[in-house]
């Protein structure tokens, strides 16, 4: 093997490895490093879930389950697992970061071809979604890493005054 070829292989390995790492790291480390009024954030400041050793989830993950099941389940299926005509979000969120998820939810997404017509609506004007979008994201993030299982979380942290206040002002 020539030196040149060896360098190429090493370079490729590095690139591939980096690409792989980048993909694996897309949503970043979900570990909660800070919290404010029951809402947890990761090291990048993005919303994340917190699951206690007893299985108790943070309040946002819980409310995320509730609001997901009302607004997203019709297409994306129970527990984010997908349906016959919309992708599994448990899978999708492994490769999307917080800002990408927000952009898709607010602006919608189209994948229309001869063989299939997948269309997600723009939900940016929908208060029932947008007032709870961080909670929905946190819940699905937990589903995508496997930290949150199927079905309604059995136990959750209490609702905070800050949440109620934010909900009231957002919903109008």
């Amino acid at each position: 093997m020539t030196k040149c070829a060896r360098i190429f292989i090493v370079a490729c390995m590095l690139t591939c490895l980096t690409a792989g790492l980048v993909r694996a790291e897309k949503p970043g480390d979900p570990a909660a490093v800070s919290s404010e009024d029951g809402k947890y954030a990761d090291k990048d400041g993005n919303p994340t879930y917190k699951v206690g050793s007893d299985g108790k989830v943070d309040f946002y993950s819980y409310i995320g389950f509730v609001r997901y099941s009302a607004n997203c389940l019709q297409c994306h299926g129970p527990d984010g697992l997908g349906s016959t005509y919309a992708p599994s979000l448990v899978d999708s969120l492994k490769n999307l970061d917080y800002s990408e998820v927000m952009a898709i939810v607010a602006g919608g997404k189209k994948d229309v071809s001869e063989s299939q017509q997948l269309v997600m609506p723009a939900l940016g004007e929908n208060k029932n979604v947008m007032c709870f979008i961080d909670a929905i994201y946190v819940y699905l993030r937990g589903r995508s890493t496997g930290a949150i299982g199927r079905g309604r979380p059995a136990e959750h942290e209490p609702k905070t005054d800050a949440f109620t206040k934010a909900e009231d002002s957002c919903m109008g």
Partner: protein
């Protein structure tokens, strides 16, 4: 009729068949004249249900309980569409008309030349209509009349196609998809009019039912599900409700303020017609939102059986089955019109298997309530329907507080409610055989948790307001049953457990055979008297279409569309979980995606022909 073991089932079956063999000879409840060609399907299958009375019964009798076991696939046809395929093709003479979900393709196939494509219609529709279709982009089929094929497209365009050429004769816009209104229903043609309804209950779309002229598409009348009498076409003092005349503006009186304007009550189900009285029958769906706390009152006339004069739309009678809905039990399922004996007297009946789990039998001329009984023993949200005409709650379900999401309130999860929101039966239509006097009903056997909460309305955006989880009834694993029902007594006669919800419309024939499809993709044929399985064949995809039959070239054919999807494709694709079971049981129920995959195909069956 709840079974816990196979031996229990066999015993029940044996017992029932012995009871049945005696009773079928007499066929109680069936009047002597039997079916005539005008009220049953024959060589053609020219309306969505085979006949105007929606019996889904065919007088064809080449295929019988004796020879159906030899059935073979005669030919197949791919629609080229992957979404859920509801409804059934039509056959008129030598041509079959096959429809598909969005983009709502229609094919005319030449039965004289191996199904050669005579013409194909594919409308150009804005794909933005796709996400405002709740629960997949289904379409339940086309109607025929005046030499035209009628299709209600997803984007609420009602189009008339020349049946010979497929050329567009006229189009008319029936509603506005930007508000969340969509077309999914199969139209019905009666005389010189074509009747359609609208979908959009999850978007706050106010429902309506309308008649258009088959000649030119002009609207003849439109009756709204809610609003002032001038909108609903209710005639105060004349329109009847459970034996009493209806008062003025009886709809708006049951809503807070002008909530009725976004109140739902959509009309996406099947339609029936009785030439004797010139009445057209259909049901209205759930009130919007799913959060009952947000819309105080009975929310009339959501969840209602309607009888309208076919020429004017004027309302003869109404019956609201689920006042102030708290569970999404749409009232749109088919209205089957039969002439049977009830209490020893011949009656003109209307039989309806509601999402709410009750099988209703009414006098269709007057709207008198005769029977309301549970057609799945798992139904628990109400103890019974009050049948006492003197009672203040006459005709109303007696709701158990523990299953009342109104009583338990917002942000409270009401658990173990049976049936689930998709109902003991959804749109998949039942069949009736005048020979056995029995109804054949495809059912769901699924319960739910339901948590309502506050929502805000934005036009064209989902307006749901509740979270729900679905799972089979406690201690059971089958999510569906195919049952035979005596509508004059309100009793299950036999019941066949199915692993998944039975989401396919049934067909009954004069050959003593009943057909239905399953979500795994099986077409099944059973003995109409006993329910004994006589034949099954696995089609390319799960079946949510309706089985039909026709005769061509002297041979009887049976056809069904497969192509899994719809509501069935949402909840079941990944399998259901029981939130109340231990951790080990989670995921323990079968996932449909282990059995079938997407793809629209028509499979046509016949007996060996040499």
């Amino acid at each position: 009729m709840k079974r816990t073991s196979l031996s229990g089932l066999l015993m029940t079956g044996a017992l029932l068949s012995s009871v049945l063999s005696a009773s079928v000879l007499l066929a109680p409840g069936v009047m002597a004249q039997g079916a005539t060609s005008s009220d049953a399907a024959g060589k053609d299958w020219s309306t969505p249900a085979g006949s105007m009375n929606s019996q889904r019964f065919s007088t064809l009798n080449q295929i019988t309980d004796q020879n159906v076991g030899k059935l073979q696939v005669a030919w197949t046809f791919s629609t080229g569409v992957l979404r859920g395929h509801e409804g059934a093709p039509l056959v008129i003479g030598n041509v079959m008309y096959v429809h598909a979900p969005f983009p709502n393709t229609v094919f005319a196939l030449d039965l004289d030349h191996d199904g050669k494509i005579l013409w194909k219609y594919e409308p150009k529709q804005d794909p933005n209509v796709i996400p405002v279709m709740c629960c997949d982009t289904v379409n339940r089929g086309v109607a025929y009349g005046d030499g035209k094929i009628f299709l209600h497209q997803a984007d609420t365009t009602l189009v008339a196609l020349d049946a010979k050429t497929g050329k567009v004769a006229w189009t008319v816009k029936t509603d506005d998809p930007a508000k969340g209104a969509t077309g999914t229903d199969a139209p019905l043609v009666v005389k010189d009019k074509v009747y359609v309804g609208v979908s959009g209950g999850e978007f706050g779309v106010r429902g309506w039912f309308a008649a258009y002229s088959v000649a030119d598409g002009k609207q003849v009348w439109r009756g709204w599900s809610m609003g002032p009498d001038s909108d609903t076409l209710i005639q105060p003092g004349k329109t009847m409700n459970l034996g009493k005349p209806v008062a003025a503006d009886s709809s708006t009186a049951t809503w807070q303020g002008d909530q009725w304007k976004i109140g739902g009550g959509d009309t996406w189900g099947w339609k029936s017609y009785d030439p004797k009285t010139n009445l057209i029958f259909y049901g209205s769906g759930n009130p919007s939102t799913w959060n009952p706390k947000q819309r105080p009152g009975d929310n009339k006339y959501s969840m209602t059986i309607w009888a309208r004069d076919a020429d004017t739309g004027s309302v003869k009678w109404v019956y609201q089955m689920t006042p102030h809905d708290e569970w999404d039990y749409d009232g749109v399922n088919e209205m089957v019109l039969t002439d049977q004996e009830f209490d020893g007297k011949p009656r003109h009946l209307l039989v309806h298997f509601d999402r709410n789990g009750f099988g209703y039998t009414l006098d269709r001329d007057t709207g008198e309530l005769l029977v309301a009984q549970k057609y799945d023993p798992a139904v628990n949200w109400a103890s019974k329907v009050d049948m006492d005409p003197k009672s203040a709650t006459y005709g109303r379900p007696q709701v158990l507080p523990q299953y009342s999401t109104e009583h338990n309130g917002e942000d409270t999860n009401s658990t173990n409610i049976c049936p689930a929101a998709l109902g003991t039966k959804d749109e998949q239509p039942s069949a009736f055989s005048p020979r056995t006097g029995l109804f054949y009903v495809p059912t769901n056997h699924v319960c739910m948790d339901y948590e309502p909460f506050r929502v805000s309305y934005t036009a064209g955006q989902p307006y749901v307001g509740a979270t729900l989880s679905m799972y089979p009834p406690k201690g059971e694993t089958n999510m569906g049953n195919f049952i035979a029902w005596d509508a004059t007594k309100g009793k299950i006669v036999w019941s066949l457990p199915e692993q998944f919800s039975v989401w396919s419309g049934a067909l009954a024939t004069a050959g003593n055979v009943v057909f239905y499809g399953t979500l795994e993709g099986y077409l099944k044929a059973v003995d109409a008297k006993t329910g004994k399985l006589l034949y099954k064949f696995k089609t390319p995809s799960g079946i949510i279409g309706n089985v039909m039959t026709y005769e061509h070239g002297g041979h009887q054919y049976v056809a069904v569309l497969s192509g899994v999807g719809g509501w069935a494709g949402i909840g079941l694709a990944a399998g259901l979980t029981d939130p109340h079971a231990g951790l080990g049981a989670v995921g323990g129920y079968a996932a449909l995606n282990q059995y079938t995959s997407l793809g629209g195909a028509l499979t046509v069956f016949a007996l060996p022909q040499n």
